[in-house]
Symmetry: C2
């Protein structure tokens, strides 16, 4: 059986901020059966995670010498790969059967032809909504959990600052910080988000960075005694101001650098003298680095979900056609929580 | 008994590079006896350590909000404190006797009036020359040992880059790196220093940064497969280039930032995307942080000295009058190894 498969491509490499016109919806004839002797798997995609880091893969130069998946360049005209959850419709691989629900790196398409190594998990349980496995129980949750607990190692009463705090990772860091007995302040880009952080997620305080003229003064106001941990999702001036306001032995977890993704001129120039004299540690990390801790993460986070301690914030669009606007919206501050595109139930 | 005591002061706060004319030699009448009932100690100073970080204390603004000794402001006209080794000439404190050799934070003077808490060690052994206790067995050695072994955690065969490699800390890091089976490249500011690093200290390679026009290309040349550990003493463009050339899971130990001490406009703007994608850790540290590891440091380093595995590089001037030129020389690249001023035998 053959269907018309829709998929999304970039027309050309993207410099600066992405626009919807940079993307194109393409179609192809797609067989829903596997060739005899092949161990391919055909997946009907259900949810696609829309993450800011892809912008770095869409540039004309490689974002890093490193050959990690998160940095591999996307080729214009070819299907984009990312975190996707879907259902097996045909399998030549004995490990996967029709109707298995699988999560992995598949194409931004209605259907994906998948190799075994692209599948990260087969979901055995249906305790939680499937979309959770791309967010709170997937890469966003892992990044928040590992960066906050394994690197920052919070102590009760410590002061935590989170940027892009209403984003997919930031909102979870803030919630984990509150569960750890920390004082947490988040920044976001609108009054609506600020109210959401304080009223819905229980942040101790929050501010709209767009209304601030001097971020150093802002942070002195919110942290008169200094910051113990800064969970950085944005880089740039916010990182400089955070380092200027860290306490001795402060920790900076660098999860993302969204302000620099579309404008390399916005690079942070932190005061290195602060880093020495205050013995600050800055660490970059990726959620893929923590395979050994994954079971702990899944058990603890699932438990927080069952007991209602952790709220799940998702922003879900529908249909392949919504991918370009969903992706562009990440850079315009449109979303609150994890941005997903739903393709099918 | 009273003597004329010579001491060094700054005439005013110093911005930018220090000059000899910024300093003044002053004299005072100084009693060599302790007032009855006082627990003061009078020390005749033997060696004074001349360290670049004092420039940050000589500025008109505090270098850090942090109240650590290394950041306390120096007052123009008043005696400067720093790492000094001397001999007790009179003591009202039962813990210290005449002729004890003590190391601590005393004044840049021929004689210092000292409180017990200013004394870090009483030297019981005279196995090594006294000057070593300000360098290889003192703060410089601790910084090199702790930053390299305790933070960088070198593995056999890893690639190490050291800046200011002929300086008091850098030369020791390079030697420790070779003892650990690492490949080590240093940079310094003259051909004489480069030759010294390679021929005398056994660095695998070295270069004169003043002859390089593009530090990124330079580091690609010396580390075609990337850098595992960068021991940073300079900051600025060298730090940016090192981060651009780090391998995955690279470690940057930030010990000093000399290029930024006299020119805040030289701040590094490292590519944070490299820091995330390569999971780089950057850590500032001070030698005072490692009290728990001091015994290990002293035992291991003393053993390296006894067996001749570690060479001691010192650059010693004589007399109080030489302090201004010794200090200014640090910023002109005059010294190789630990810069000391000897006052008395």
């Amino acid at each position: 059986m053959e269907v018309t498969n829709k998929y999304i491509v970039i027309k050309h490499h993207i410099e600066g901020a992405p626009k919807e016109s940079h993307f194109e919806l393409k179609t192809e004839a797609f067989a829903l059966s596997v060739e005899p002797g092949s161990d391919d798997i055909i997946v009907k995609n259900l949810y696609i995670a829309i993450d800011p880091y892809h912008i770095n893969r869409m540039k004309s130069y490689s974002a890093s010498q490193n050959s990690i998946i998160q940095a591999t360049q996307i080729t214009p005209g070819e299907a984009i790969d990312g975190s996707v959850i879907g259902k097996v419709v045909a399998s030549g691989n004995a490990k996967f059967q029709k109707d298995d629900v699988v999560m992995g790196r598949f194409t931004w398409a209605e259907y994906s032809l998948v190799k075994e190594e692209s599948i990260l998990h087969k979901l055995e349980s249906s305790e939680f909504p499937l979309s959770y496995y791309l967010g709170v129980l997937g890469p966003s949750g892992i990044a928040a959990y590992m960066g906050f607990f394994k690197f920052c190692r919070p102590q009760n009463g410590e002061k935590v600052f989170v940027s892009a705090a209403s984003g997919s990772v930031g909102n979870l860091v803030g919630q984990y910080a509150k569960l750890s007995g920390c004082y947490v302040v988040g920044c976001a880009g609108s009054q609506r988000k600020v109210a959401f952080l304080k009223e819905k997620l229980g942040f101790d305080d929050a501010f709209n960075y767009k209304e601030e003229t001097d971020l150093n003064s802002t942070l002195i106001r919110y942290f008169p005694d200094g910051i113990d941990m800064y969970f950085d999702n944005v880089g740039g001036e916010m990182l400089e101001a955070a380092i200027a306001n860290m306490k001795a032995f402060g920790r900076v977890a660098v999860c993302g650098v969204i302000s620099e993704y579309t404008d390399a001129g916005k690079r942070a120039s932190p005061n290195m003298l602060d880093i020495v004299y205050k013995r600050i540690t800055i660490r970059g990390f990726l959620s893929v680095d923590f395979a050994n801790d994954f079971a702990d993460f899944l058990a603890e986070t699932s438990d927080c979900l069952r007991t209602g301690k952790l709220q799940v914030i998702e922003d879900i669009s529908s249909g392949m056609e919504s991918i370009p606007s969903a992706f562009v919206g990440l850079f315009n501050g449109d979303n609150i929580g994890k941005k997903l595109v739903k393709l099918s139930s």
